[in-house]
Symmetry: C2
Subunit: 459 residues, 2 copies
Amino acid sequence: MDREGQELFKAALGIVHEFLATSQDRQNKVVDFKQPAELLALMDLSLRQEGATNAEVLELCTKALHYSVHTAHPRMFNTLFSGIDMVGLSGTLMTSAANTSVYTYEMAPVFNLMEKEVLQTMRELIGWSAGSGIFSPGGSVSNMYGLMAARYRRFPDSKTKGCAHLPQLKIFTSCQAHYSVDKVAILMGLGTDNVVKVKCDHMYWAQQVRLCWQHLIPLDKMADICQAHNVWLHVDGSYGGSCLMSKTHRHLCKGIEKADSVAWNPHKGLHVPFQCSAFLTRHEDILRSMLSLRASYLFQKDKLLYDVSLDTGDMSLQCGRVNDAFKIWLMWKKNGLAWAGREIDRQLGLANYLRDRIRERDGFELVVQDQQYTNVCFWYTPPCLRGVAESDDRKQRLNKVAPKLKAGMVLAGSMMICYQPLGDLPNFMRMVTVSTSATEDDMEFILNELERIGACIQV
Amino acid sequence: MDREGQELFKAALGIVHEFLATSQDRQNKVVDFKQPAELLALMDLSLRQEGATNAEVLELCTKALHYSVHTAHPRMFNTLFSGIDMVGLSGTLMTSAANTSVYTYEMAPVFNLMEKEVLQTMRELIGWSAGSGIFSPGGSVSNMYGLMAARYRRFPDSKTKGCAHLPQLKIFTSCQAHYSVDKVAILMGLGTDNVVKVKCDHMYWAQQVRLCWQHLIPLDKMADICQAHNVWLHVDGSYGGSCLMSKTHRHLCKGIEKADSVAWNPHKGLHVPFQCSAFLTRHEDILRSMLSLRASYLFQKDKLLYDVSLDTGDMSLQCGRVNDAFKIWLMWKKNGLAWAGREIDRQLGLANYLRDRIRERDGFELVVQDQQYTNVCFWYTPPCLRGVAESDDRKQRLNKVAPKLKAGMVLAGSMMICYQPLGDLPNFMRMVTVSTSATEDDMEFILNELERIGACIQV
Ligand SMILES: Cc1ncc(COP(=O)(O)O)c(C=O)c1O
Ligand SMILES: Cc1ncc(COP(=O)(O)O)c(C=O)c1O
């Protein structure tokens, strides 16, 4: 191994240690925001024929971490993942050192068995005694497997003949479904027009505890309807699936065991480092029969050493597949499954705490009175809008508040919270309480900070 | 941060250090192969409600690395990736510590710019002055983008309307194309019957330096035919694309600049840690226009802080997307682009060396007399088959040799080489000379070791 590379690795470890040691300090900024042009002036990112010295690249590494969003910061609430887990990080470290692909038992004997163990545990949590599954590069791809399986189950000869001879297929989903459903419809040749978006207020829908809306999700009833009409039910639990870990809250997913397939991202609320997403189905053979091509150079059926049905490559769209299972296996082994349940309960407790504070505070208004999961959506009304009567004009002005709040917090580096509009509703803040280290005090901080930034907002 | 987690991380680092320090020792086994039942007896992989102690999980971690395939071992030739690069590993380490998603500039300002820099460099190496691209979770997915773009370009309203009203679409590819083309045809609703596999001997084909066959690939001519017939040309350079880095060998890719899109996996011959694959196209807007849905909660157009055209999420099938760009950026920054070219030349030199040794050695026969790239395919004929005249029976017996050789080397742990049949040809060994640390001596070792294992093979 080359000496310079080794030295670089050693120094990189030092930089990472320092970064981690202060990553949860509230004194630090969540992000030291720079414009692209500023960053390019601060860091020479250009690639050239000749290389650089270790000193040069290490300086760039330090800057790269510094100017990145500090996702472990207790006040990073921008996304459905937040915080840091040292067990998970230990897992990534080992995965990187082992650097292998998990398509066959031959290339990844241990990780292959770990993947099977984790997937089986997840299926049991859903309530299935049999089935199959695979880790995929994210919820969008897991949803893709679900929609593919739905088509294949009904029209197995589409695998060879394609869909030109089929009737127009449709996907039914909620108007609040994640946009990956549309992307997959494009990909599969269905087209976005054939994604029927069922209004949430009008009908029950097949989407697991989603973004921000309040739904009493009678998945149970939905599943019965689907069964009666021979419709494949895919539950997008990318975000909400982790709720299954909680003995207290898993009732929110009641009926999920009747679904045909589930997408579930432990890289969100369960803090598994990026990426960790599982596609799960109760149909044992469908993945393999839908995708297998028996590539002779990889999945040799005449292998003498082991049972080739262990190989997963034939069940996946991917060929090479990164080892996403080890880190979650390690976290669940170390912490126990009960830990994950407690963690979900903690996050829900924090969401309820924030909701209660918002209820009692002037200038704040909940979008949903009783949020169901770990997201709390609300408007902050700056002084200039208080007392202004409801009107289209007021709505348009309120719509401009959240982007200004966002710009204010990012420039201050004090916190990061997402905003979005929804249908007719003007932009609101979408707080997600999944951070590993956020506390009730941080919830108070958020509201105070929004007031501070908002005080002088003019819209 | 919890103390136990920190201690686990520290100890995990120690395990990884030890693993890396000996990872290239030829005295070690490439793999200490165990059957699934044996592994399960050696390691308690079960997940339970209660957690485990650090000592328990650390012992499991040590075993996990021990019983994994040692992909850094100089005699690991099983796959199109092999070896270890400490600069790349430093990159993964930092990526893991930063643990973010790269869909927006907001969430990954530095990594977003690095991704752009790497993609632009790759486009320039192809020979395009403009275009776009995205990192994807592997060559199969990069090929998927290419085939999607082909359909979308010709039938842009398929995005909304789907494909039911379209004529039957076909994909033309080589009979030696990677099987991901078929998988994508299933996914896109085209069906495998509509993948036209052009015989390699009969026609030029649009596939970059592939697995093992000898092709003088007149990509150039292929591109002209495609242009004349208004056919999208996607070049699958998942494996061969890295050849573009070499001034001496990039002529093998002549004509690639006329292609519409290219898949290229730096995680293969360029030693970027898993996963690192790029989809590149010379059509600047196609990815965005084909996939964008402008999800209002993520890609807010009213962001006040920066130019939202920097956000890449709207160009991707994925939503969350792991940071695959940093590690390749770091390797190219540190080593320089010229290094990558030298590395490809070294690998090709090694392949030629092995080919020459095979030519002069009894009992070995090349499948392809002059391989074009870093794979050398050959038969080893055990003593029991020497002097046996060509016949179907001999062919069937020869077909059984490679699986036995493979079992022998894996059980001995001495090396790993892939085997495969191809069309009518019986199983042969497919050697790939991409390892970071393999030398000419290792090529001699391979042949000697095959002779040793083969000496007593009875078929
Ligand atoms: C409900 C839901 N589905 C799907 C996704 C997409 O998951 P990924 O980002 O892993 O592609 C998300 C991500 O936020 C989500 O919340
Ligand atoms: C030519 C070619 N195309 C595509 C692929 C698939 O790439 P990935 O394994 O990254 O999905 C491979 C992998 O070996 C390949 O060699």
